[in-house]
Amino acid sequence: MWGVMPEAKNRATEILLGPEGEKIWLLLLEYAGNLARRYGWRAGKTLPEGASPDSVAKDVLIKVIQGERAWDPEKEPSLLIALKGMVRSDLGHLFSGYEARMIERVDRPLSGEFERTADSFPVGDPNPEQSLLQSERARLEMTALDLIREAVESRKNPELEAVFLALYYADSPKEIADMTGIPVERVYTLGRELDRIAAKISPALVARVMRERTSHE
């Protein structure tokens, strides 16, 4: 059970019932979808059965309204940012289940029938489970990024490419506008184009392309 803060609960409800409430909800839903896709790119899968980004967002919303999850306005004055943090935590837990299943048993024999012993793992290196997981994640993420880059390049739009490159260094439209010299309103428009591109790159597509590319290596 999460701590209950009646005043914050009432304040959260008040804000949600107020003029900003509906926009906060839509932004939270959108964030849950974007983040689930981001985690999916790393895991090569969408959420487990029965869960969806909007069900996670809805669960967070109801728990905050009912006071089962606490928002501390002194620590985080923005209700939306606090809600996003809760969604991030819940999605992270759901995806971590996949990662646990991707872990290989340490006592599994290596190819060539050799068994692993303590000497097989130099001190300071990641253990075999960590190595496997990191390598799988890294390949999936690289594939997702490659697919995004290929789609951006196919648009033949230098401004879109500039925004894409700026995302290696920044995440706010204002910073990207400053870096690229593109007006911020235009950055927002280009963001919509990137959103359309990202929406088409599902975790399942990333996993499939990664497998195809690996088999050709």
Binding site: L17, R37, L167, Y188
Partner: protein
């Protein structure tokens, strides 16, 4: 850190930045709705669902009152109008209910209705009586809960 690890970190950071950029809060409501449509979510249905969640889990005082009234109505059953009652009898009962509400600590503005009794039809009076009875029952329940 070797160059492969460094590249992996850069890739991960890029995807994090992209996710954050695509979720920017300063965008217009229309942009957010368009983005939701790209995700296969109908924003209008999502908004309706939000209103339903609020009505259920964070009802406004008006919704709470309406729900309470409905509960009382259901618990009382659909009390039939007593047939063949004279207009004077209904008005007398309205005054009696209004007085009892005053004694419950809710000096109802029923007095305001008195001047209109003469203009009101019998159906209107009957409806007013039912409404006042419901409010009185609500008040009684509230007081009983307070005494527990």
């Amino acid at each position: 850190m070797n160059s492969r690890d460094k590249r992996s970190q850069e890739n991960a950071a890029f995807l994090d930045n992209l996710t954050s950029f695509l979720s920017d809060e300063q965008r217009s409501l229309e942009d957010v709705k368009e983005s939701l449509r790209e995700q296969g979510i109908d924003p209008e249905s999502a908004l309706q669902e939000f209103r339903d969640i609020l009505a259920t889990h964070a009802p406004s005082w008006r919704e709470k009152a309406s729900r309470e009234r409905q509960k009382v109505k259901e618990s009382l059953g659909d009390e039939p109008t007593q047939p063949n009652r004279s207009r004077e009898e209904i008005v007398a009962e309205i005054k009696e209910v209004a007085n009892s509400m005053g004694s419950l600590g809710a000096p109802i503005v029923a007095g305001a209705y008195h001047s209109r009794f003469e203009e009101a039809s019998e159906d209107d009076l009957d409806s007013l009586l039912r409404d006042l009875k419901l409010q009185r029952d609500l008040l009684r329940r509230k007081q009983e809960r307070g005494n527990e």
